[in-house]
Symmetry: C2
Subunit: 396 residues, 2 copies
């Protein structure tokens, strides 16, 4: 006889880590709407609306734009296993955890992987890729927003070199989408994926994917079947395309959630959404600077939505993160891999990117650091953040 697990009462959290971020209340409401069938005429309308809004968000006309029934890593696997056939060569740019993951995924798909590496917290220039591209790979994969380091990789300037070498450009936009401009058509991105739980104010569970007509030609012309049945784009295209042929049962309620999340982004307007992410980042950054906390990311490529900073000298990483969680309900992220114990990752993503969160976090952090050996002028971080906010018109 199995004993019943306790009633479900999740604590109220302020999610300021590397994701999931705070889910918008309207998205939570959408999740709880009554389930309909995956071939219900109404659900097909929801899929249409979702695809159209997703194209708007990705700034693309790609017909093959859809949500994969898995989290961001399933999106990564989808684009890789559909584009790669055994022995194809793929260049993967590695400057953090997610580039390394992409290389692993590609190797499992049978690719000859050429890794190009940069130190954590830095980004790639076209020059860094020159040598690897000279081998004329089939695909070059790169992470636009490295969640492990907070580095913001410019895409436009490398796109030309990738296409000049005859390769397809594959971009990880998991933490990028919604937080900073992502221009799929203007930058000629061939394959891109994201997650719902970062800058889209939605819980984890789906991966928005878009594939250019050029990528679709490669996929439809494959010599052998895609190794994954679940992620086979040639079959998914029949469900997400005009035929609406059953493939697998779509995650109905999560699809409602993403639909509502996309309505929120478009109601705000993409440019306003990016500007909001930038403003709250500037306020946080000013606040942190005022108490001497430094970013671990290379200057000039810091993501507004993911702030990776060094744990101050003499401060106990784990103790501060626990106290933030237990005394204030605030979650921030620990460092991963090489950054373990040394870096905090502070997310300002989607609904979580708002002045209330910035001020609460800085105030709470000041309280906790004041209890440790770390010295600074009390109130300095909040004052500096408020100065940033005061400089913009109240309507912004």
């Amino acid at each position: 006889m199995t004993s019943l697990a306790p009633e479900l009462h999740p604590p109220v959290r302020v999610l300021m880590g590397p994701g999931p971020s705070d889910t918008h209340p309207r998205v939570l409401e959408a999740l709880a709407k009554g389930t309909v069938g995956h071939l219900d005429p109404y659900y097909l309308e929801v899929m249409n609306g979702l695809q159209e809004m997703l194209r708007g968000l990705y700034r693309t006309a790609n017909p093959m734009t859809m949500a994969i029934s898995g989290t961001g890593s399933a999106g990564m696997e989808t684009v890789v296993v559909n584009l790669i056939e055994p022995c194809d060569s793929m260049v993967v740019c590695v400057n953090g955890v997610f580039g390394a993951r992409m290389a692993d995924v590609a190797e499992r798909a049978g690719a000859n992987v050429i890794k190009v590496e940069r130190p954590w917290g830095e980004v790639f220039t076209p020059d860094d890729l020159k040598q690897a591209l000279a081998s004329h790979p089939k695909v070059l994969g790169i992470v636009m927003a490295e969640t492990s380091t907070g580095a913001w990789q410019p895409i436009e300037e490398i796109s030309k070199s990738v296409h000049d070498a005859g390769a397809l450009l594959l971009v990880d936009a998991v933490t990028a989408l919604g937080g900073v401009p992502v221009e799929v058509d203007a930058w000629q991105i061939d394959a891109i994926y994201s997650g719902t739980q970062k800058c889209l104010s939605c819980p984890p569970g789906l991966s928005p994917v878009s594939l250019s007509p050029r990528a679709m030609d490669v996929i439809m012309g494959r010599k052998r079947k895609v190794q994954s049945w679940y992620l086979d784009v040639s079959m998914l295209a029949n469900y997400w395309g005009q035929n609406r042929v059953y493939h697998h049962t779509g995650p109905i309620n999560m699809t409602y959630a993403l639909y509502e999340a996309l309505r929120l982004v478009h109601a705000e307007g993409l440019e306003n959404c990016w500007a909001r992410h930038l403003l709250n980042h500037r306020a946080l950054r000013a606040g942190l600077a005022a108490i001497g906390i430094r970013y671990s990311t290379q200057d000039g490529c810091i993501l507004p939505q993911l702030n990776a900073v060094f744990v101050p000298e003499g401060v106990d990483d784990e103790a501060v993160r626990s106290a933030l969680l237990n005394r204030f309900g605030i979650e921030i992220g620990a460092g991963l891999g090489a950054y373990k114990g040394k870096v905090w990752r502070i997310g300002l993503m989607g609904y979580g990117s708002r002045p209330a969160n910035v001020l609460l976090f800085l105030s709470a952090l000041e309280q906790l650091l004041g209890e440790q050996a770390f010295r600074f002028a009390r109130g300095a971080s909040v004052a500096a953040a408020n100065e940033v906010y005061s400089a913009v018109p109240a309507s912004a």
Copy 2:
């Protein structure tokens, strides 16, 4: 400028198809609870509780019991790609769409697939498998509840032959789990997967999976990496095991939903849950018999939760299903593959398996059939169903 898609207002449906089935109101509430982080101490408790309740439901002590972050088909792919290495041989039993899908998934994993076939609507006996097992395959895969035909495959009697041949037994329990007894340990099932959207009153999106220690030995002793990074059990075991090492971001709110769905099943009691599915099936069956509607499934192996019946002679399949949906909000399933246009699939799954649904469906069907050329004694189906209900004590 993307135009905003319309507000989300799903119509109220009574889901009596092959799944998704009606989501329980308490599960919808659980879905809408505030998102917490995937490494939050509270979330780890939720994972523990979910695993324990899932073991109870599967009747197993398997430590490796978890929910895959994808729908039922992702569960199928998980067990296959983790157990199979290229050139391993796998027997797949095919008597409907999902057996055929399993063979496709296994081939994509590099298996030498030996298909054993039976006509749609029928099941396999140990004798049917004898010849294929004589080749000593690594794995035999079989579907316990064929969603395309409504056939209920006995597992216990074939388990012995499979193990005598030295093979691992892999079972698809997508439509079975929660509706009929599934005894993982007693029947010595080595790998099993299910879906949330059938008899668990939960939306689609996760796949409960369990692997025996014997299966785990095979997985941990693999010669090469699993072809799927996302579904690699050796890494998932580190997240769902005691270490709780980050792999991918779990689908938090869907996990809440499954947790609550499992609480509902255990609060009712498994035996009571199976008995309820059986009673409502008997009532539906009596009702259908009273107006001359016949099952397409072999007698003696009809699943209580999925009733596949022939569309009566002279009745327009599509017109009846559309009218059920548009006039009564009732969804039933069309026939798949060989059964297209010939068979209706009527689900009585999870929260959807209740007298109210049986009576509503029969009354609505009588009205619609009465408008077509089909003749029967008015009220006969409802009377017959109510007779079944009257024969059991009101408390049942």
